[in-house]
């Protein structure tokens, strides 16, 4: 019987972000930016109450400085989770920028990252403002949303590459499309809808679910620095105690 709660398959992007290999470092930053830019932008907009234009500059500026000064390398996993560390850095960065009266507007003329800020604004419009009591958890919640979104995107790509479109469509129909329905779609109705025997629906969903879980955990592994942090995050996101 294995004692590992979760498989460890991918190298941590946080560890790789301080690699001597420039290519590896760049790839690691890309992974981290992809996972964090949206929570960072929304956090700056909501928590710091910044207008869209300023929040864009600050988000660009924050990641530009992180890459330039490589401050992710300062992260000590024994002290905090990476996302807590990143949020603390972000708070410090925004506070410093606020203090600097003669702040040079960052990013405005030279965008360093291609980020879909309009999409982020649209998401915020749909979701509406967070409740007052939920502000403290806002960043963590947005981070979780970002990890699930990235995992889902990767899952889609992999299922299509593996010619498992039916699995993918079933999974999306069962998990995502039924959001407004009071109860989940039954396997029986999926069977009728997809013209498949119920046993196939069960098997296809089981496979898709297993793949999604694997990809999600891989993504999480990439976004955490140590095995301990990975387990802690998995526990926080999936609600199980891996011990």
């Amino acid at each position: 019987m294995g004692s590992d709660r979760f498989p460890v398959t991918k190298l941590s992007a946080i560890v790789a972000s301080s690699s001597d290999d420039q290519e590896e470092r760049t790839r690691a930053f890309e992974v981290l930016v992809a996972a964090y830019w949206m929570p960072v932008y929304k956090y700056v907009r909501i928590k710091w109450n910044k207008p869209g234009e300023d929040a864009r500059d600050l988000t660009q500026g924050f990641f530009a400085e992180a890459i330039e000064k490589n401050f992710f390398a300062r992260f000590d996993p024994s002290k905090a989770k990476f996302r807590t560390f990143l949020r603390t850095c972000l708070d410090g960065f925004v506070a410093n920028e606020n203090k600097a009266a003669s702040r040079i507007k960052r990013g405005g003329d030279a965008t360093i990252l291609s980020l879909d800020f309009d999409g982020a604004e649209e998401q915020m419009r749909i979701a509406g403002p967070p409740a007052l009591g939920a502000l403290d958890d806002y960043f963590d919640k947005e981070w979780a949303r970002s990890v699930f979104s990235l995992a889902l995107e990767s899952f889609r790509a992999q299922m299509i590459a593996a010619q498992k479109q039916t699995h993918l469509r079933l999974f999306e129909r069962y998990v995502l499309d039924a959001e407004d329905e009071p109860t989940k779609t039954s396997y029986k109705s999926l069977s009728a809808e997809f013209n498949l025997p119920t046993t196939d629906v069960t098997n296809y969903l089981a496979l898709a679910r297993r793949e999604f879980r694997r990809i999600f955990l891989e993504k999480l592994r990439e976004l955490t620095a140590t095995d301990e942090e990975f387990r802690r995050e998995a526990r926080a996101l999936l609600g199980v105690d891996p011990q």
Partner: protein, 365 residues
């Protein structure tokens, strides 16, 4: 990148959290519920084509102690072949180290949810009496449950009653088994389980009311006997379960656990405090039933019913309109009970007398 609403994130989280039973004969369908120790899923047994309930422990099991304990529970339950005790089909481990077991899928409601329905007082007493029967059966096989509470009792759509979660059950010693008519081979099996009890029982602590989770005292504070709350495991016998049965009856009578507000933790239960009498909460509760409840919940175990069967017998007596052993009636109560029990005959006699009177006056005129 598609935007995920909070609801979608929750659903994806739920899917990613579903245990991977690949390699076993079970396919997980969806989550049914969760508790302090584990989560229960609806699953499909692909070999037999039937639905089962699969309980997956929340923590990994690097030493194998949990798997041993689960196996022990499965073996205990296998010994208790009774219509009110849910059979366990299988025990196994996931690739990630978590232990699971598959059991019969029970469709129904937990007893604590049933009380909220329109179940009548007498329906609830009949359910309770069936619980007593199942527990008495286990006691006769030398097994005490140690975590009886409404949440561990299921009531099926046809009134069938199932006592669940034998995870912390204890097999009593030789002396306790002396009167057990079990054949020799079952005796030796009980010995094996008893040995496993010594090495494999994980320490469990009772957490908040209604929750059983990890720590040092086994059970649920609101329903456990005083000796159980004090950790006096050597004193635990059938009468400890009898106390819990009394506490369940208390819940059925009053709609609340006996120690909800002042005994929600083990520490508070370690000092004895009598529960508020059920009739103080509801005057409509019959004195006899209150007496059954309070006798089962006596502080000292020698003052309680000696067996779960004794509790059940008293409940049946009450339902049949007979005197119960826990309550001494005065002459008026005896007369009232007699009249109530023989209501039909009394009405007939009264009707006859009235008719005679009518005839008498009619003829006299």
């Amino acid at each position: 990148m598609r935007w995920l609403s909070d609801g979608s994130v929750d659903r994806l989280r739920e899917e990613a959290d579903l245990p991977d039973l690949g390699g076993s004969k079970y396919l997980v369908l969806h989550k049914l519920g969760w508790g302090g120790m584990g989560t229960v899923y609806l699953a499909q047994d692909v070999d037999l084509g039937r639905k089962v309930a699969v309980k997956v422990m929340n923590m990994a099991d690097p030493t194998g102690a949990l798997a041993t304990r689960m196996m022990r529970e499965a073996r205990i339950v296998a010994l208790l072949e009774h219509p009110s005790i849910v059979p366990i089909h299988d025990v196994g481990a996931l690739d990630d180290g978590r232990v699971f077991y598959a059991m019969k899928l029970v469709q129904g409601k937990r007893l604590d949810q049933t009380t909220g329905d329109n179940a009548s007082f007498y329906d609830l007493l009949r359910i309770f009496q069936k619980v007593c029967e199942a527990v008495a059966f286990a006691h006769a096989r030398g097994v005490i449950h140690r975590d009886l509470k409404p949440e561990n009792i299921m009531v099926g759509p046809f009134g069938e009653v199932l006592v669940m979660d034998w995870g912390v059950a204890k097999v009593l010693s030789d002396a306790d088994l002396a009167a057990d008519p079990a054949p020799t081979d079952e005796h030796s099996e009980l010995h094996a389980i008893e040995d496993a009890d010594l090495i494999a029982t994980l320490p469990l602590v009772a957490g908040k009311t209604g929750d059983t989770s990890g720590g040092t005292v086994i059970g649920t504070p609101a329903y456990m006997s005083p000796e159980q709350a004090r950790g006096q495991t050597e004193l635990l016998d059938e009468r400890s379960d009898v106390f819990s049965l009394g506490a369940i009856l208390y819940y059925l009578l009053t709609g609340r656990p006996p120690y909800e507000s002042d005994g929600g933790t083990v520490a508070r239960r370690q000092t004895w405090k009598s529960p508020i009498r059920p009739r103080q909460l509801d005057r409509k509760i019959p004195r006899q039933v209150e007496a059954i409840c309070l006798k089962a919940m006596s502080e000292h175990r020698e003052d309680r019913y000696a067996t779960a069967e004794g509790v059940g017998v008293d409940v049946v007596k009450f339902l049949d309109g007979n005197p119960v052993s826990a309550y001494r009636e005065n002459v008026f109560e005896k007369a009232f009970r007699w009249l109530n029990k023989n209501r039909f005959i009394v009405i007939l006699i009264l009707a006859y007398l009235i008719m005679r009177l009518i005839v008498f006056f009619a003829v006299g005129r």
